[in-house]
Symmetry: C2
């Protein structure tokens, strides 16, 4: 403050730019090449920094943050291999259309040619899982690169923008931060898209499916979709996997396309036309010999009312104006769920306990895999909440999603419905929950096997042998989730019946900070 010339590094110019662009959170697992960025964080302020002990925690948390905050977090990663460890959950984030700004530190530009041990093809690593990739070329331009990365991430419907930051572009003196760039809005639906949808509905509403995804699943989107359905007899479904669905009392009893192929085919068999609203053509999660890839019946017409980059809410409103003027939405979810049941653990019982006890404003992170598939019908009348699913199918995102959601929404309780096999991929995230004192209750569905694969193996061969079964079995030795959680600094307890589950949930909801429940499920 002596009136002299202030100088700053490229890293500081970049951090100041990110803050100026409205970024507020940074999930990080840094290394040596990121130390100038880390050092700049203190000088600038304004970014809440959350350390993840493994990169999958970092990228999954950014996904959860973006889904709940409606804007991107930054993630900070170390070189090509550090980015590689984050890709799986970047894949999931991309399938959720979550905006993420990934900053990947790398060797100084002049050091690359020497092929030091950590040298890797960082752009090549980023490209299959990013919508936008740029390597900063100098400290003069790195701040502008940062502004461009934020713009790219926030371009509807949300993108993965990866900015590679060679160490010298971070440590060299820079002219200063860059101006934020304008953020594009979602494109309006074309009138013809709306008119065609209206014509299809007028021709045979009961045979038409309105398939919702993305922003179409917002409260406003659901309300108009259910109005359209009430007026025309059309069916309404959400996609199989969704980034975020507002649910519970006062919302609508939306259901999803089922995961098991045969069930999905049956569920969709009555439709002659499908109107996609921010959703994709429904397809089988995996292919199976002799079964179709498309879940729509043969000959079913497909019409796109709103692409993911279009304004699905406006499209539904315009369509409702065409076909449902004056029609009120059907009755919203109402009534109060029964008291939580007691007794042996069943899928229905868990759902009933959740329905009774979910606190208002809860954020449910559902990576329950086999255990959680049937939870929707029983929880329609739970207190209002948001339901987040694994969108990209790469298991190992539940705990990180819970972390990111908790950072985005202080004061709301996060409830993780967590398959044990899936939880193991990013179990390190428990420590970040503890450090951040995240209000997150994680229920581990401990069935001690990759149950979904046991089903799939049964589909494949007659009598699976010992080798195959061992590869799908999480026993021998059994995992002790209570000790694991405590080892990472998270209080934990085990439950083997519904009454204990309910007691532990009530207790965890009544206090701050994280809690883990190891629930033995059959």
């Amino acid at each position: 403050m002596d009136g002299g010339i202030t100088t700053m590094t490229g890293a500081e110019a970049l951090v100041r730019t990110l803050v100026a662009c409205g970024m507020e959170a940074c999930f990080a697992n840094p290394g040596t090449s990121e130390m100038h960025f880390v050092s700049a964080l203190d000088r600038v302020g304004g970014l809440r920094c959350v350390l993840g002990l493994a990169e999958g925690v970092v990228s999954g948390a950014a996904d959860g943050y973006a889904r709940m905050a409606g804007k991107p977090a930054a993630i900070l990663l170390h070189c090509g291999p550090g980015l590689a460890n984050a890709l799986s959950n970047l894949h999931n984030a991309r399938r959720a259309r979550s905006p993420v700004v990934a900053i990947v530190g790398d060797h100084a530009t002049h050091h690359r040619a020497w092929d030091a041990p950590l040298t890797a093809d960082v752009e090549g690593t980023a490209r299959p899982y990013s919508d936008w990739v740029r390597t900063a070329q100098s400290a003069r331009t790195v701040a502008a690169d940062g502004a461009a990365a934020v713009q790219a991430a926030r371009t509807p419907p949300g993108q993965i923008a990866t900015l590679i930051l060679p160490a010298d572009t971070a440590w060299t003196e820079a002219p200063g931060p860059a101006e934020p760039l304008p953020i594009p809005s979602a494109l309006p639906p074309a009138p013809a898209q709306v008119e065609t949808a209206a014509r299809i509905l007028r021709r045979g509403g009961a045979e038409v499916l309105l398939l919702l995804g993305g922003a179409a699943l917002s409260e406003a989107g659901q309300r108009d979709a259910f109005r359209i359905a009430a007026a025309t007899g059309a069916g309404v479904l959400a996609q199989m996997s969704n980034a975020r669905i507002p649910r519970g009392r006062g919302r609508f009893p939306i259901e999803r396309v089922p995961y098991p192929v045969d069930l999905a085919l049956e569920r969709l068999s009555r439709f002659r036309a499908s109107i996609l609203v921010g959703a994709k053509h429904p397809v089988a999660f995996f292919a199976y010999p002799g079964k179709p890839s498309s879940l729509l019946p043969e000959g079913c017409a497909v019409h796109v009312l709103a692409r993911p980059d279009q304004d699905a809410v406006a499209a539904l409103a315009a369509l409702a104006d065409e076909v449902a003027t004056g029609v009120p939405p059907p009755a919203a979810n109402d009534g109060r769920p029964a008291d939580p049941p007691r007794g042996a653990v069943t899928s229905e019982g868990i759902a009933a306990v959740l329905a009774a006890l979910l606190p208002e404003g809860a954020i449910v992170v559902d990576e329950g895999v086999t255990t959680g598939r049937g939870f929707f019908p029983a929880t329609h009348a739970a207190a209002p909440h948001d339901w987040l699913q694994l969108t990209g199918g790469s298991i190992g995102e539940g705990i990180p999603l819970a972390l990111g959601a908790a950072i985005a929404c202080p004061g709301r309780r996060v409830v993780g419905l967590q398959a044990d096999g899936s939880a193991l991929y990013t179990v390190q995230g428990l420590w970040s929950l503890a450090r951040e004192r995240a209000d997150a209750t994680i229920i581990i569905f401990a069935n001690r096997r990759y149950a979904i694969l046991r089903h799939e193996l049964a589909n494949v061969g007659a009598n699976p042998g010992r080798t195959a079964l061992d590869l799908l079995d999480l026993g021998n030795p059994d995992l002790d989730w209570v000790r694991i959680a405590q080892g990472f600094g998270v209080e934990a307890a085990a439950a083997a019946d519904l009454a204990t589950l309910a007691d532990l949930l009530r207790a965890s909801f009544a206090r701050r900070g994280p809690f883990l429940i190891e629930l033995a499920v059959p």
Copy 2:
């Protein structure tokens, strides 16, 4: 056995081919698209299957296996994101020049166009970290693809071969297994390479560095290198990071290029010429402002006696014939280390305890990072053992390396020297150690911070603030490694002084199976 026509799937033909090619181990984290492969494992037999709870465990274990078995293991991964999770340790394996055959299950070919949630660019994911990539096109050819993958992996000096296996190429009927393909030998060194090295040594031996890497560090290679040094006055060093160094009594007191740049520059400052034997030009691990990338003094000539794909042992033997005929090797490491010291934990004290207690034939897996750098001088006279380092600089490979080494070498004790921050990336590997009853003792150096980054941060800025320090700190909450290990099924205990460390080491060496020691280090 009824004389009828036997049929088999593409998966079974592939597994039979891998076994025919001499493969004996498969580290796996499978998903739905790999179920036909998994199912075939039982029908075929011959591949020991080891489940990893996260893909980094799988690829790191394959690296450890290859280093000790001298041949590749197969790894089995699920789709692009599953491969992505394995890339970091494939990077390390590649830098170790370990052969690995990666089998990546993917969607059926006809399902790809539907862009199901797990669809990703698998070839694009593989390419930056593989030397050979192929996507199987049909069940008719998949067995031949497997034979080609093994050949590629075993092509000197060892490669990462990635075979992508669309589900329909695995489940469709196949004509049968393929014949193994010939495995190329390492190329002989050209006479001119040897003659030039001899000329350089004759001109000024004391100013010449013999820098060894790969097979040059075998017992035979070291012996000839030390003979050449004895005859010419040349210096001998191993690279900074090495896949495997035979050490201890009866071997030679080889030292490595130091990690800290200033130390390395000083150590190499006297050399006017450097002869690379299976080694690369020595470079700084990271670049720093104002410091050079190359660790050799300016003007230092560089001559390649053997490239990594050439026979480094033969090259050293030929060079010894030129310059050291009749010269015996210098005295090998001898003497018996003193009894283990007691008292407070210091780096020197840990090294002395190891020197005293390492069992004969031990396999030391060194991911000690800051704690382990000074262990070599004190352990030259330990019982004969192999020393494995992190070769690619991507931390998080120690526990998987220990797993793979234990599978490759039953009956030998694996001793993991493991930094706490690094151990966290693949902590799930503890469970595989327990399940496989691996004879592995893991010493966690619990300094509760990313100590290496604290050093680097200090280099970068004057007064690091709270945000920066928090990002490098593993406390708040402290990790409880004993509980974490027990949670994964591994017995464990804590030590805070050298006497307890020695007692726990002795006890663990006297029994079968894994054990973890949480050692509080300053």
